[in-house]
């Protein structure tokens, strides 16, 4: 009896050892293939990135050497159910390169630029902090649940509320996708003016807001909630794992892909709506209301309340320009984006309604001013 038991036990032991050995070999094979897969993925990623960049540069050079005039297309000749289809196909034909490049680059910026850069540089209330906040805003493309932590981070590093406001005003206007798409789809001229105008307006808003008493009150409130002794903060340990290039590429690629999945449905819906507007809005309306000084004011008025997801707004603007809107009015329209009604609600929590009023007025006035300057420089009749 005992002998059999012993023999059974021995065989189980042997079995256990064999299993471990097999697992060892299986594990090695699996990890070998996983490493190969990772390396192949990284290479593919860079090849695609290179190809997109190459084509981008190539097409820019070709446009420079041999510019192709924009063809005028009248969409109302199609049946109504064909219009969105044709419009979207046209859009994809023009924008596929820039769009893919923009998404890939957002992933790269997300992963390869350390987020701690903001924490170190924004404390205090000096002038250059506002400029820095506005300049750094493009780096911070994040999910919507990160907005509060970013706000906390900026304040925790010692920055004033005005600096935070400048940051939040620049972020939608200056995020990477917006810049690239505006430049590509509407024109780099208008794109850069829009960027410059938003920059100025954002910095001015921040500075003005800081002069108000409410800014200091909010700051005090924040400091009271979040006092932490230096003892406690030294207790927090951080584990820094070395991230291999493959892991970083994987994170960048997944971020780009997630962004695409979020943005694309809204973009398509926006395009469908825009296609109908383009086909059916009579040209006389555009000529009457969207040109000259009246056009500038109406553009600035509309740009705010009309909530459009960023990429859609670019398409709307392009289409309106197409139908005869003045470039200056388009500039005023695009600059109105920060004061849309939807973002006013969360912003009122961070900056109170007084803050919202400040930046709305500043942006409104700046849009009109900059658009007027633009028309004077480019000889657009007012």
């Amino acid at each position: 009896m005992t002998k059999t038991l012993a023999i059974n036990q021995m065989s189980t032991n042997n079995q256990v050892i064999e299993d471990h050995q097999k697992n060892g070999i299986k594990e090695k094979i699996r990890s070998y293939f996983r490493d190969r897969k990772q390396k192949i993925h990284t290479v593919i990623y860079f090849v695609i990135l290179g190809a997109l960049l190459g084509y981008f540069i190539y097409s820019k050079i070709m446009m420079f050497i041999d510019p192709v005039p924009t063809e005028v297309v009248d969409y109302s000749i199609y049946d109504w159910y064909i219009i969105p289809y044709v419009y979207i196909i046209d859009y994809i034909k023009h924008a596929w390169n820039t769009l893919s490049l923009a998404f890939m680059l957002s992933g790269i910026i997300y992963e390869f630029i350390p987020k701690s850069v903001v924490k170190k540089r924004l404390g205090g209330g000096k002038f250059y902090h506002y400029i820095l906040a506005a300049a750094l805003a493009p780096i911070f493309i994040t999910c919507s649940c990160s907005v509060i932590p970013i706000y906390v981070g900026i304040l925790a590093s010692g920055a004033s509320l005005g600096v935070a406001m400048t940051f939040f005003l620049m972020a939608p206007a200056a995020n990477f996708i917006t810049i690239l798409m505006t430049g590509e789809y509407i024109g780099w001229n208008l794109g850069l003016w829009r960027l410059g105008g938003s920059f100025i307006a954002a910095v001015v808003s921040g500075i003005i807001f800081d002069r108000l008493r409410i800014s200091k009150e909010l700051r005090k409130q924040f400091d009271n909630n979040i006092t932490h002794d230096s003892n406690e903060s030294s207790k927090v340990k951080r584990l820094i794992i070395d991230k291999s290039i493959h892991e970083r590429v994987e994170i960048a690629y997944k971020f780009s892909w997630d962004l695409l999945k979020t943005v694309l449905p809204r973009l398509l819906i926006g395009l469908v709506i825009v296609s109908f507007l383009i086909a059916y809005i009579p040209d006389e309306w555009i000529a009457n209301y969207f040109t000259g000084f009246l056009g500038i004011v109406i553009g600035a008025l509309l740009g705010g309340p009309l909530y459009t997801p960023t990429l859609v707004e670019i398409v709307v603007t392009k289409s309106l320009i197409f139908k005869g809107m003045d470039k200056a009015a388009a500039l005023a329209f695009m600059m109105g984006q920060p004061y849309d009604f939807v973002s006013m609600v969360p912003n009122s929590k961070y900056f109170k309604w007084r803050g919202v009023l400040v930046y709305t007025l500043v942006f409104f006035i700046t849009s009109i001013l900059i658009a007027v300057i633009y028309s004077l420089i480019y000889r657009i009749p007012l």
């Binding site: 932590p149 925790a156 406690e232």
Partner: protein, 91 residues
């Protein structure tokens, strides 16, 4: 059977979509590679004052194990989660 408490940090009071993805990846790695690990998952809102007092400022989605911030700022890949867990299991 080793026990571990893994805290996922996000910007909201509940799991936002990025935190959920982070938790899923951690769960997947544990269930395939570290079967004899007993894990407790918790969630904190990193923008709340209590969290800031305790951990300082963090960029979500982040992972905290054993009072140490092991990852922050992005959804980790499986290989990164493995490296982190190996670090805690070897100590």
């Amino acid at each position: 059977m080793k026990e571990l408490t893994i805290i996922i940090g996000g910007g909201l009071d509940t799991y936002c979509i990025n935190c959920r993805k982070t938790k899923d990846i951690v769960k997947k790695v544990i269930e395939t590679k570290y079967l004899d690990l007993q894990v407790n998952y918790e969630h904190i809102n990193v923008s709340r004052p209590e969290s800031i007092k305790k951990y300082g400022h963090m960029h979500p989605p982040c992972i905290i194990i054993d009072d140490t911030i092991v990852h922050e700022g992005s959804i980790p890949t499986e290989s990164m989660v493995e490296k982190i867990l190996n670090h805690f299991l070897d100590d």
